[in-house]
């Protein structure tokens, strides 16, 4: 089937506005991850959903960041009162179950620019 999709592919917003980024994982994948990739940097883990378990939010950088996953499928990452340092590519990944050996399948990312 289709891979992981993310929308929008690009988002430009003004400082102080709220933004919502969407991720559609591969059907049947129970694990979903959000990462942030700043220019020229590696990936910074943000949040992890596994089935019906409470999400691991340990990577969220501030309380302006939140995420939800409805019905165990689509996930939305929300950034409130955006700041210029939030500018980055936000990547979503999904995998079957949670065994650590499982491959993560990544979406193409959303490039967020905060002016």
């Amino acid at each position: 089937g289709a891979g992981v999709s993310q929308s929008p592919s690009n988002k430009v917003t003004e400082k102080g506005k709220d933004v919502e980024l969407r991720c559609d994982p591969i059907s049947g994948h129970t694990a979903l991850y959000w990462y942030r990739q700043s220019l020229g940097q590696g990936l910074e883990f943000l949040i992890y959903f596994q089935g019906n378990s409470a999400p691991d939010k340990s990577g969220l950088p501030s309380d302006r960041f939140s995420a939800e996953r409805t019905g165990g499928s689509v996930s939305t990452l929300t950034i409130q009162r955006t700041q210029q340092e939030d500018s980055a590519v936000y990547l979503c990944a999904s995998s079957r179950d949670s065994p650590p050996s499982n491959e993560q399948f990544f979406g193409p990312g959303t490039r967020l620019t905060v002016l």
Partner: protein, 113 residues
């Protein structure tokens, strides 16, 4: 603390040559998993190869192989007969059984014609 270090920010090699990308890591776990992911200019992250720490045999996927030295906590990636399509950012990734995932900062690899 768990860390992944890629000491080569950028590398360039001629097409058809062999190149080795370095990765060292630190973890207190005895069983864990290591991955190399590739991110070409298209931004799509793709799994290159994976290694389970309890397996002594080095993983191999066609032109890609790893040199896994568990005692030294080293996990290098060797690309043989490099191709133009191998041009990408390469990330070394550590994943423990508690699902903590740590990415290295990446090595930007240029394959020159």
């Amino acid at each position: 603390a768990q860390t992944v270090t890629q000491s080569q920010p950028e590398m360039s090699v001629q097409e058809a040559e062999t190149v080795t990308l370095s990765c060292t890591y630190d973890t207190s776990e005895s069983n864990y998993y290591l991955f190399w992911y590739k991110q070409p200019p298209s931004r799509q992250m793709i799994l290159v190869i994976r290694q389970e720490a309890y397996k002594q045999q080095n993983a191999t996927e066609n032109r890609f192989s790893v040199n896994f030295q568990k005692a030294a906590k080293s996990f290098s990636l060797k690309i043989s007969d490099s191709q133009l399509g191998d041009t990408a950012m390469y990330f070394c990734v550590l994943r423990n059984r508690d699902d903590k995932i740590i990415f290295g900062k990446g090595t930007r690899l240029h394959i020159l014609p």
